[in-house]
């Protein structure tokens, strides 16, 4: 399964005028893998995709697909398929012609075209007889997206590229399409590069996620890895909502460490390699990993605090608790499980930080 890399980007740089957008992007994707490029707008993920497609040329670096160097190959010869954010269907052609478009350039024989189109339309769940003669403007967003996918897949490309394909759909449609795309990708076993700014989407669909940070990849790992073991403050902050606590190592023992905050709170964390006495660290705890108790317990890391604000949102509540000099954002269930009550401002509560859920980071601290 993991043979040599199938799609490789090596040290890609790209500038637009004065803006140095890509500052050395390295990406190595195996055949059949689904990798998502995730990041805020302007970070370079779409530029990377466009360079892979050949729509833009990198200033320096290499692009290799299946071992072959692609830099001098124009887009129409790279054998890729691409799905665009706004579908980019040919408005002046019916669905059948839209999908069959790429087949003409592969010199597929006229007899084979209808069967190939039929097969790919079955794959994306668009009955050919109903849809073949319709025009793009007669289709819903979801249908258009599926035609777009079919068009890209019918030419049996070596790599499938998707540029934020679901951002123009409503929430329900997005959910179902995510599953669809993943199902199709697995069935066809095609190497896929997916670009999005939606973290949920990235985590839900990918084999690996590459987090972009101002022009380079900050971390590329499986969704679980990214979520539980973010490599930096940036990554931890980007995916999900985390609380960041600055502190200094006070004590190091066999399996654990004690980290002390400026305000004097002592937090027990699992030991990691770079922990030495007095070292400055940043701890990160996800908002949904902090428990709220109404009385103390004997476990570690239970601190007393006061509720500063509480926003009831139905299925969840967003509670801010002041603990010493810290202010912690907590996502809890809407009402207390046992008592059924909602937390009130001014209330005294106890927060529990389970050491297992504390991520220890080095690097630049942030807001």
């Amino acid at each position: 399964m993991l043979t040599g890399p199938y799609l490789e980007l090596v040290d890609i740089h790209k500038s637009f005028g004065d803006a140095h957008v890509l500052k050395g992007v390295n990406l190595s994707i195996s055949k059949g893998e689904f990798v998502t490029l995730l990041g805020p707008s302007g970070c370079g993920k779409t530029t990377t995709l466009n360079i892979t497609a050949g729509l833009l040329t990198a200033d320096s670096g290499e692009i290799r697909i299946g071992g072959k160097e692609m830099a001098n190959t124009p887009p129409h010869k790279r054998g890729l398929g691409m799905v665009f954010q706004n579908y980019a269907l040919f408005p002046h052609m019916p669905v059948f012609d839209n999908i069959a478009f790429g087949l003409k350039f592969l010199r597929t024989s006229k007899d084979e075209i209808p069967s190939k189109v039929r097969r790919v339309m079955d794959l994306v769940n668009l009955p050919i007889d109903t849809y073949r003669a319709r025009y793009p403007h007669q289709l819903s967003g979801g249908e258009q997206q599926r035609v777009s996918l079919a068009r890209a897949l019918v030419i049996e490309p070596s790599v499938l590229l998707l540029d934020e394909p679901l951002s123009n759909l409503d929430a329900k449609m997005r959910d179902s399409m995510r599953a669809e795309i993943r199902r199709i990708q697995k069935e066809v076993r095609i190497t896929t590069v997916y670009v999005t700014h939606d973290q949920e989407e990235a985590l839900a669909m990918s084999d690996r996620v590459a987090i972009f940070q101002s022009g380079t990849i900050a971390q590329i790992a499986s969704p679980l890895e990214i979520y539980k073991r973010p490599g930096s403050v940036f990554v931890a902050d980007f995916v999900g909502h985390s609380n960041f606590i600055r502190g200094r190592v006070q004590e190091v023992s066999n399996a654990t460490c004690t980290v002390v905050t400026d305000g004097g709170l002592a937090i027990v964390v699992p030991k990691t390699d770079f922990m030495t006495k007095n070292k400055s660290l940043v701890l990160a705890v996800r908002a949904e990993k902090i428990a709220l108790l109404d009385k103390r317990d004997s476990r570690e890391n239970i601190f007393e605090g006061t509720v500063e604000s509480s926003l009831y949102m139905g299925s969840t509540s967003r509670v801010t608790v002041a603990v010493g000099d810290l202010r912690l954002f907590i996502h809890v269930a809407g009402e207390e499980v046992r008592t059924g009550k909602i937390h009130e401002t001014g209330e005294t509560v106890y927060v529990e930080l389970n050491p297992r859920d504390i991520m220890v980071l080095q690097g630049e601290t942030e807001s």
Partner: protein, 264 residues
């Protein structure tokens, strides 16, 4: 790194630059021919002299017609901006049943050939007596109204309607709100519309030709008639003057509203 469009793009660029040069040729020829020393029109000019420009500025016919052109254009432009402003205001800010009909109506002068309208105007005004400059004004007004309305509307629709509403909530009457809020913000559109109308009136040939009579001739008409009969280089100076004036105004207009916005 190869862009396979490179040769295509290069060719296109060459074509465009070449075309631009060719477009400029007649204008350059005209203006440089006006500096000739000889007594007939020639390009390239054999020897350089300003004598035809002197002639142009001193000849009574040219001076009189130029003055008339300027007067008519000024009045027309002022009127057209006022009328267009009112019309644009209605079209941009309100929705009502007859709106399409109204805007079609304002667009109608576009759909009628100038020759046809020139003829109609001639008949209409001649039947009421001798043709006067004010008749020129009315005709030019009609012909320019669609474009000026369009220019001002474009400018106005870019303006947030909530600005005026905010002013009114704060106590200003609709008129004051319009005067103090909207008007200053659409000034570029108004100035652009005025200048464009001025330019169009000044340069209008077809209608002016049909309406012209020995008492009142505008500069383009003089040039037209002179081409037919005399073709002295002072005519070239006259034409060059009109050209330079037009290009100058065009430049100013482009500073206010940008040329293309008029036609979008």
């Amino acid at each position: 790194m190869v862009e396979d469009m490179k040769t295509g793009q290069l060719l296109l660029r060459c074509y465009v630059y070449l075309a631009c040069i060719i477009i400029m040729v007649p204008v350059i020829v005209l203006i440089s021919a006006s500096f000739t020393k000889s007594d007939y029109i020639s390009f390239p000019p054999d020897l350089i002299s300003l004598k035809w420009w002197n002639q142009f500025f001193s000849q009574e016919l040219y001076q009189r017609s130029m003055l008339l052109s300027i007067q008519i254009s000024a009045v027309t432009s002022a009127l057209s901006v006022l009328v267009a402003l009112a019309a644009a205001r209605v079209l941009v800010r309100h929705r009502f049943r007859g709106k399409t009909i109204l805007s079609t109506m304002f667009n109608m002068p576009f759909t009628v050939p100038q020759v046809v309208f020139a003829l109609a105007a001639l008949f209409f005004f001649a039947s009421m007596g001798p043709i006067l400059p004010i008749h020129f004004v009315m005709c030019f007004l009609v012909v320019e109204l669609p474009v000026v309305i369009r220019t001002i509307s474009a400018n106005m629709s870019g303006l947030d309607p909530d600005l005026e509403r905010a002013a009114m909530v704060l106590g200003a009457s609709p008129l004051v709100a319009f005067y103090k809020v909207t008007l200053p913000l659409i000034k570029p559109g108004l100035i652009g519309g005025f200048l464009f109308s001025f330019l169009s009136s000044f340069n209008n040939t077809t209608i002016a030709l049909f309406l012209s009579n020995p008492g009142y001739v505008t500069l383009p008409v003089v040039i037209f008639q002179e081409i037919e009969f005399y073709a002295y280089p002072s005519l070239v100076a006259a034409a060059s003057f009109a050209t330079i004036l037009s290009l100058g105004m065009m430049f100013v207009i482009s500073r206010f509203v940008g040329i293309a916005s008029i036609y979008r």
